[in-house]
Symmetry: C2
């Protein structure tokens, strides 16, 4: 763990060696290591909290705002929560070794596609120190070595957390290099990490657009981006209005700061008269600022005068706040077209009583998760039964939607024969 | 198809629009389009061969070598072969719409993971004009729009082939923009194509290292690289010697110029005495130049004096020719270590009678295809039952091994509910 004296390439080379061993360990060995990691977090809490206090003090001195300080802060309760999450991950079914499919060829060769770890996963992240442990647990569970690179704001916390985790797993027999951390805070280090072709198999950024842009520019190893969520709820002509109101309100209000919250409400013209006054009223009561197109305003009843006018920018914006854009459309096709034009491809919902409209929407909308008669807020690895997630992918290759432990694996073809040669 | 007057971005935007329609067409419509394409290739052969003759003439004038001219040339027989391949692709099962998995959540939501097209696939390639049609057929079969960018050497052939194909599929009702071609030959055009974020979902290079390097430098959209094959055959202590000799010879000799041919033979020290003289003899008789380490030379019997000495560079080299490096190792672990150090991760084989050694090798070797007691030469989409392949991936994300029509798809989660909202 003496990373200050090692280059990024050296850290990654040791992680590569560790990954060769991890790939062949049985699940029991990896799960035991995760339990040791969880126990160590609790046993060594004083050390961890002392390091965290130093980050908190530096954060306060440098004028970090209250929200960022809250994300940075650890206490006994939060540490116990993190340890509990590690035990939850340990209890998940092992994704490694599963035969995904297999068949016998006419020449007698048995071809099996078998799930295996990716190898070395690098995670680059911002201020939350819990990411250090969450991602380490997810990577070890899926048989990968992890190289961490956090932000300088949480440097003391991350460094101690990674050391505690690494020491715990090594004591159970996992190789040195299973969990490594590079110092963090230096852009050149990020560039180095993202160009370790042959040593790093995947980089996962967990942070804002600046971090992603830096990776887009420099990375030569594969990167799995978790993009923003500009999500829509479309209320069709035949929608059950109670469901429609409940879903629109839930998708916007239940937790507005997350990527699967709705940002735009689309309403079929035939549903507006009954739906709009009621829905807009409930949204307003929940504290939602509404930005509507001209047609929606005409049907908003008493509220009309208090509504802002939606602009092109509103259709494009992921507010992550109690703000909702509202637009009236004349058909499910127009709704699909609007969604495909502005959506970030995260989570999209239709509320409808028509199977034709439902099929048109699920077939036509190009997004990771498409809902019929349910809130967009369900897109989550935990909810989907994947146990835990490392992020949510809006890209199409490899992983789309929640990125769980299965998405941290690849596969190999294992072909068994009895001397076959090619004619 | 008037591509000369359109920018790359305009071509890709039209392809994006076409992809929205293609994604919702039933398989019958796409298969009918493929049959129309195949028919048109035969019906309009005169036009195609005339364009090809112009490329051939220009190629001869510019001093293209015989091998490249052969790859460039079309005739009635080759065209019929290409048309036949299109019909074969049409007959494959549709990969689109398959429910990969599905389950009901405790809250009653039905979550299904459904296979869908990627959207717009760009294929950049070098002199073979048949790629124009093969890739168009594979992309349409998997519900994708394709944007082609061939080399200037085959510009006339590619342009006419793409036009013939596009006109044929549009006549059956597929959208304009299903098949597009950009002029080719201009590096800036490649850069533009590889940076159409939001319009192009995937770029597939089919060409040499220069093309891949250019994409590595410029691409911001995902790229699926088909890398080289530095493949090994390892003959274990307990190998059946007849099988071992047959497999070593087949993997090297049967078609040395392809990526799944073996480049290095590793031999367990305990197998050398019986195996090496016989294997090296047969390899020599097949015209193979042998480059051996010191221990192999000692055991090569009469051949010893005529063998070249293997250097570090030999372990790293994909010869793609009748040359084989030979090395003696002391254990399956040493073989695995050598393979993981030098392999390009394509196809690796062990010949052994030991289940322990087989398991160690298949578990420990990090490659797309790992063989037990069979030649490396079987790695092929057609052989593996995938119908056809667009290349062979040695990367680990999304597609590993043969890239067939399934690998040209992604999936979406379709979630059906009855009004569920998140608590």
């Amino acid at each position: 763990m003496a990373t200050t004296t090692r280059t990024v390439a050296e850290v990654c080379a040791q992680a590569r060696d560790a990954s060769r061993v991890l790939a062949t360990l049985p699940s029991g060995a990896r799960d035991a290591a995760l339990h040791a990691m969880a126990d160590a977090l609790e046993q060594r809490s004083a050390e961890i909290l002392e390091a965290n206090a130093r980050d908190m003090e530096a954060g306060r001195e440098s004028g970090l705002n209250a929200a960022l300080l809250d994300r940075l802060q650890l206490d006994e309760g939060r540490l116990a929560g993190i340890a509990g999450d590690v035990r939850t991950i340990a209890a998940l079914p092992d994704p490694v070794g599963e035969t995904v499919e297999g068949h016998r060829l006419p020449n007698g060769l048995d071809v099996r596609r078998v799930r295996v770890p990716l190898g070395v996963v690098a995670v680059v992240y911002e201020a939350r120190p819990n990411v250090t442990i969450d991602c380490s647990a997810l990577c070890l569970k899926s048989g990968n070595a992890i190289v961490l690179r956090g932000s300088s704001t949480a440097a003391h916390s991350n460094s101690v957390l990674a050391r505690v985790a690494q020491e715990a797993v090594v004591r159970t027999g996992l190789p040195e290099g299973s969990i490594s951390i590079v110092a963090g805070g230096d852009r050149d280090e990020l560039r180095q990490l993202a160009t370790q072709d042959g040593l790093v198999d995947l980089v996962i950024p967990r942070g804002g657009e600046g971090l992603k842009a830096a990776l887009k520019e420099h990375a030569t190893v594969p990167v799995m981006y978790a993009a923003a969520g500009n999500c829509h709820v479309y209320v069709d002509a035949s929608a059950d209005l109670d469901d429609a109101v409940a879903i629109a309100v839930n998708a916007k209000v239940q937790r507005p700061g997350v990527c699967n919250a709705a940002e735009t409400l689309l309403v079929h013209a035939d549903a507006t008269a009954e739906f709009l006054p009621r829905a807009l009223g409930e949204l307003r009561e929940s504290g939602v600022e509404l930005r509507v197109d001209g047609r929606a305003r005409l049907l908003a009843g008493d509220l009309a005068d208090s509504l802002a006018e939606a602009s092109e920018e509103d259709w494009e914006t992921e507010y992550l706040a109690l703000i909702l854009a509202v637009k009236v459309v004349d058909s499910v096709d127009e709704a699909i077209e609007h969604v495909n034009r502005y959506s970030s491809g995260h989570s999209e919902a239709i509320v409808t009583g028509s199977t034709d409209a439902a099929q048109a929407f699920t077939g036509g909308v190009d997004a990771a998760s498409v809902y019929v008669n349910a809130s967009t807020r369900f897109t989550d690895g935990g909810v989907f039964g994947m146990g835990a997630e490392i992020g949510n992918s809006t890209q199409k290759l490899h992983a789309r939607g929640p990125i769980g432990i299965r998405e941290l694996t690849t596969f190999k073809y294992v072909i068994e024969g009895s001397g076959q040669v090619r004619e």
